[in-house]
Amino acid sequence: MEPAGELDAPMTLYQARNHSYLKVLAISDDWMTRRSINQMGLYAGDRLHVLRKAPFGGPLMVKSHNTQVAISRQLAEKIRVELVP
C-alpha cells in the first residue's frame, strides 16, 4: 500500500480534483473511521469518481459502485487515492 514512486505521489481524496477518476489506496488506520467509510461501500482498491465538491471546505460527492456518497472534508482527508487514467 506504499506509494509506487515519485510520479505517483500519494494524495488524499480531499486533494483530488473535481470530476477526477480515482482508485482508493488505503483508508485510515482508525477502526471507527475505516468502518464507517467501508459501510458506504468504499474499500481500498475501489474506484471512484468525484462528482462535485462543495465550496468553503465543504464535502465531496463521489460515485462508486453506482452509489452517490457525500464525504466530509475531514473524512476525505483520511482516504489515500491515486489517479486512474
Partner: protein
C-alpha cells in the same frame, strides 16, 4: 412466527412493513429514519406473523448507536426468519450485509426491493443465479407500489422449519483468516463450556462508558451471545450465530473493546488477530471486510449486468441544485416559497374557519346565557376546538405535506450536502442538518433522529439546535400571531432571527464543547417521484400525534381554562407569574397561557385567545406585545413530549441544562425585542 426485516438504511424495510402492517413505521428518502424497531402483527394469506421492522444498518459491526439497536435485536435470536431487504439499484453495496448475514447461518429470505429503480439505472439482475449463489430464496419487489410484498412474506413463511436443499453457502475467506477463525471458534467453544456468564454486567458497564451513555433499550455487549449460548453445532434452526459467526464478529469488532471480553477469550481473539495481521499485512478487521467486499463484488459481477443508462435527467437536476452558487440560491428560494405557500394556505383556512366558530360561540352564548357555568365550559372547549381546526391544522397540514414531499423526493439529503460547510460553523456536520431540519416539523422525531449521529456531543448539540428551531406547533403560533396580525414578513423575520440564534448557539456550544466527530458521511439517494400515498400517509403519521394526543388536551385544557376564569382563579396563577410577564411587558393575563404552552406549544396560542377573551388578539394587545409573546413562546421551553424524548436520548442532566438554557435565552431575546421596540419604533 416472528419475521424480522433487516437491511441497510433506505432499502425500503419500512415500506415493506407498512404494506402489510398498516401505517406504523415512518419511511423517507434518507438513511436512518427508523431509529427504534417497530413491531406489528400482520396477516399474510392465512398466516399470522409477528413482524419486526429494524432500523437499517450497514454492517453487523456498526459504527453508530441506531444500528446497534438492530444488532442487539438480531443477537437475542428472538425471531424465526430474517427478511433481508435490499435496494436492488444498490446491489453491489447491499450484498455486503447479505453476505454477513449468511455467515450467521440464519434462515434468510432476500427481498430485492426497488427493482424499478434498478431497471432505470440500466441494471439487469439474474435472480435465479443470485438465489443459487447465496443458497436462499430471492424475491423481487417494488414495495412502494405493493409489488412482491406478499410473495416475500410467503417465501419467509415457507423457509421456516424447512431444511435447505443445499448446505448453507458462505464466503470462504483467505486461508489465514479461515485458519484463525477455526482456532478462535475452538477457544470459544472451550470458554462456553466453562459457562463464563459472570463477565456480562461488567461488559455492559464498559460498553456504556464507551458509548457515552446507556441506550434506551440497554446495551448488549458484542460478546453477549458468546457467553450466553452454549456451543452447539451450526444446525438448521439455531437462531444464534454459530461459533464461526461469533468468531468473525469478534475479529471484526473494535479492537478497543477487547478489554470487555473474558480474559481467556480476549487472549484468543488477540492471538487470532495478530495471526491474520502478520500474514495479511493489514488489521484483521480490514482483512476480513476486504475479503468480503471482494466476494461481494465478485458475486455482483456474476449476477448483475449494467447497461449504459440513458441520459439521466437527474444528473442535470443535481448539476443545478447542487451548484456551488446556484445551489444555495435555489435552496433559499425553495424554502422561501415553501414557507410562503404554507402561510398563504394557512391564512386562507384560518380566516374562514375562525369566523364560523366565532358566530357559533356567539349563538351558543344566547342560548345558554353568557354568564352561566355551562357556557364558560362549552365556550372554552369550543375555543379549543376552533384553535385546533382553524389555527393549527390550516398551517400544519400544508407544512407537513410539503416537508414530506421534500423528504420523499430526496432533496433533504442534498440540503445536508450543501449545508455541511455551514453546519461546521455550528460545530456540527451536514448529517446533523437532518435532525435540525426535521425540527421544523416536530421536535420529537427531530430529537429521535439525532441518534443517527455517532458521538454523544453531536447528539446533544443537534438535539439542542433542533429544539431551538420552531416546530410546526410553534410555527402556527408565529404564523397565526405575528404573521396574521403583524404581517407575513414579520413571521419571516422571526424565522430569520431564529436562524441567527441557532447559529450563535451552535457557535457557542462548539466552543464550549469542541467537536471530535469524524464528519459527514452520507449516502445521497437518487431523486424519485414522490409517491402521493407515501406523502399522505407520512403526513398523517405526523399529524396523528397532534390529533390523538394534542387535540383532546387542547379541548380539555381550554375547558379547564374556561372554568378557572369562571371562578376567577386565573388571577392567583397570573400573580405568581407576574414578575415574568411584567418583565416582558406583557399583560399579566398571559401568564397562565405560558404554563399551558409547555403541555403543547399550540396551547399557548389558544389559551392566549381564551385568556384575553377574544380571537381578535390585536384588540387587546399591542403589536409589540404580540411580537414579544410570539418570540417568548418560540424560544422558551420545549413541550412535554419533546422533553420526554430528550430525557430518553440525552439523559436527565443534559435535558435539564438544555431546558434552563432555553428559558434564559427566551427571556433575553424577549427583553432585547422589548428594548428595540421601545427605543426604535
Amino acid at each position: 412466527m416472528k419475521i424480522a426485516l433487516v437491511g441497510q438504511p433506505n432499502s425500503g424495510k419500512s415500506t415493506l412493513f407498512n404494506a402489510v402492517a398498516g401505517y406504523r413505521s415512518l419511511t423517507s428518502n434518507f438513511a436512518g429514519t427508523t431509529v427504534e424497531y417497530t413491531n406489528s402483527r400482520a396477516r399474510v394469506g392465512g398466516d399470522v406473523i409477528d413482524l419486526f421492522d429494524l432500523p437499517g444498518f450497514y454492517s453487523l459491526n456498526p459504527a453508530n448507536p441506531a444500528e446497534t439497536c438492530s444488532r442487539e435485536f438480531l443477537l437475542t435470536g428472538d425471531w424465526d426468519v430474517l427478511v433481508n431487504v435490499l435496494d436492488a439499484s444498490q446491489l453491489a453495496r447491499s450484498l455486503e450485509l447479505t453476505l454477513e448475514l449468511r455467515d450467521l447461518d440464519a434462515p434468510l429470505v432476500v427481498c430485492l426491493n426497488m427493482m424499478d429503480e434498478a431497471t432505470r439505472k440500466g441494471m439487469v439482475i439474474d435472480l435465479p443465479a443470485l438465489a443459487e449463489a447465496l443458497g436462499v430464496p430471492v424475491v423481487e419487489a417494488i414495495a412502494a407500489r405493493g409489488q412482491g410484498v406478499v410473495e416475500t412474506f410467503r417465501a419467509a413463511i415457507k423457509v421456516q422449519g424447512t431444511r435447505p436443499a443445499a448446505p448453507p453457502r458462505r464466503i470462504l475467506y483467505p486461508q489465514e483468516i479461515e485458519g484463525a477463525l477455526e482456532g478462535l471458534a475452538r477457544a470459544l467453544s472451550a470458554g462456553g463450556e466453562r459457562g463464563t456468564r459472570s463477565g456480562l454486567p461488567r461488559e455492559a458497564d464498559a460498553d456504556r462508558e464507551l458509548r457515552g451513555r446507556e441506550f434506551p433499550r440497554g446495551p448488549v455487549a458484542v460478546t453477549a451471545c458468546v457467553m450466553v449460548e452454549s456451543p452447539a453445532p451450526a444446525a438448521v434452526g439455531t437462531k444464534l450465530p454459530n461459533l464461526r459467526g461469533q468468531a468473525l464478529q469478534l475479529l471484526e469488532s473494535d479492537p478497543r473493546r477487547a478489554g470487555q471480553l473474558d480474559p481467556a477469550i480476549a487472549y484468543a481473539v488477540e492471538a487470532a488477530r495478530t495471526e491474520i495481521e502478520l500474514r495479511a499485512g493489514q488489521p484483521a478487521d480490514a482483512a476480513i471486510s476486504s475479503a468480503r467486499h471482494a466476494a461481494c463484488l465478485n458475486l455482483f459481477e456474476r449476477v448483475a449486468r449494467v447497461t449504459k443508462p440513458s441520459a439521466d435527467w437527474r444528473e442535470q437536476v443535481d448539476r443545478l441544485l447542487m451548484h456551488p452558487v446556484w445551489g444555495y440560491g435555489l435552496l433559499a428560494l425553495i424554502f422561501l416559497g415553501f414557507f410562503r405557500a404554507v402561510f398563504d394556505l394557512g391564512k386562507l383556512g384560518e380566516g374562514h374557519i375562525l369566523a364560523a366558530f366565532e358566530s357559533l360561540i356567539a349563538d351558543l352564548g344566547e342560548v345558554l346565557g353568557s354568564a352561566s357555568l355551562g357556557f364558560a365550559v362549552v365556550k372554552g372547549a369550543l375555543l379549543g376546538t376552533a384553535g385546533a381546526f382553524a389555527i393549527v391544522l390550516p398551517y400544519l397540514v400544508p407544512f407537513l405535506i410539503g416537508l414530506s414531499i421534500l423528504e420523499d423526493v430526496g432533496y433533504l439529503a442534498r440540503v445536508g450536502y450543501l449545508m455541511d460547510a455551514a453546519m461546521h460553523r455550528l460545530g456540527l456536520h451536514g448529517t446533523a442538518t437532518i435532525p435540525v431540519l426535521l425540527g421544523y416539523g416536530c421536535s420529537v422525531p427531530a430529537v429521535m433522529a439525532t441518534r443517527i449521529l455517532t458521538s454523544r456531543r453531536d447528539r446533544f448539540v443537534a438535539a439542542f439546535l433542533a429544539v431551538l428551531v420552531p416546530c410546526s406547533a410553534r410555527m402556527t403560533v408565529i404564523m397565526a400571531l405575528a404573521g396574521f396580525y403583524l404581517g407575513a414578513y414579520w413571521a419571516l423575520g422571526i424565522y430569520a432571527l431564529n436562524l441567527l440564534v441557532v447559529a450563535l448557539a451552535g457557535n457557542i456550544l462548539a466552543r464550549l464543547w469542541p467537536e471530535i466527530a469524524p464528519g459527514m458521511l452520507m449516502e445521497v439517494p437518487p431523486y424519485h417521484r414522490p409517491s402521493p400515498r407515501v406523502v399522505l400517509l407520512k403526513t398523517w403519521w405526523r399529524l396523528r400525534e397532534f390529533v390523538v394526543v394534542a387535540m383532546p388536551l387542547l379541548v380539555a385544557g381550554s375547558a379547564v381554562l374556561g372554568l378557572i376564569e369562571f371562578f376567577g382563579w386565573q388571577a392567583a396563577i397570573n400573580a405568581v407569574l407576574s414578575p415574568l410577564t411584567a418583565l416582558l411587558g406583557l399583560p399579566s393575563a398571559v401568564g397562565l397561557t405560558l404554563i399551558f404552552g409547555v403541555l403543547r406549544k399550540e396551547l399557548s396560542l389558544l389559551m392566549l385567545m381564551q385568556a384575553v377573551g377574544t380571537t381578535d388578539v390585536h384588540s387587546v394587545m399591542t403589536s409589540a406585545q404580540i411580537l414579544i409573546f410570539t418570540l417568548f413562546v418560540t424560544f422558551y421551553l420545549p413541550c412535554l413530549a419533546t422533553l420526554a424524548s430528550m430525557v430518553r436520548e440525552l439523559g436527565r442532566k443534559l435535558t435539564a441544562a438544555a431546558a434552563g438554557a432555553l428559558l434564559l435565552l427566551a427571556v433575553v431575546i424577549s427583553l432585547l425585542a422589548r428594548g428595540v421596540f421601545h427605543f426604535l419604533l
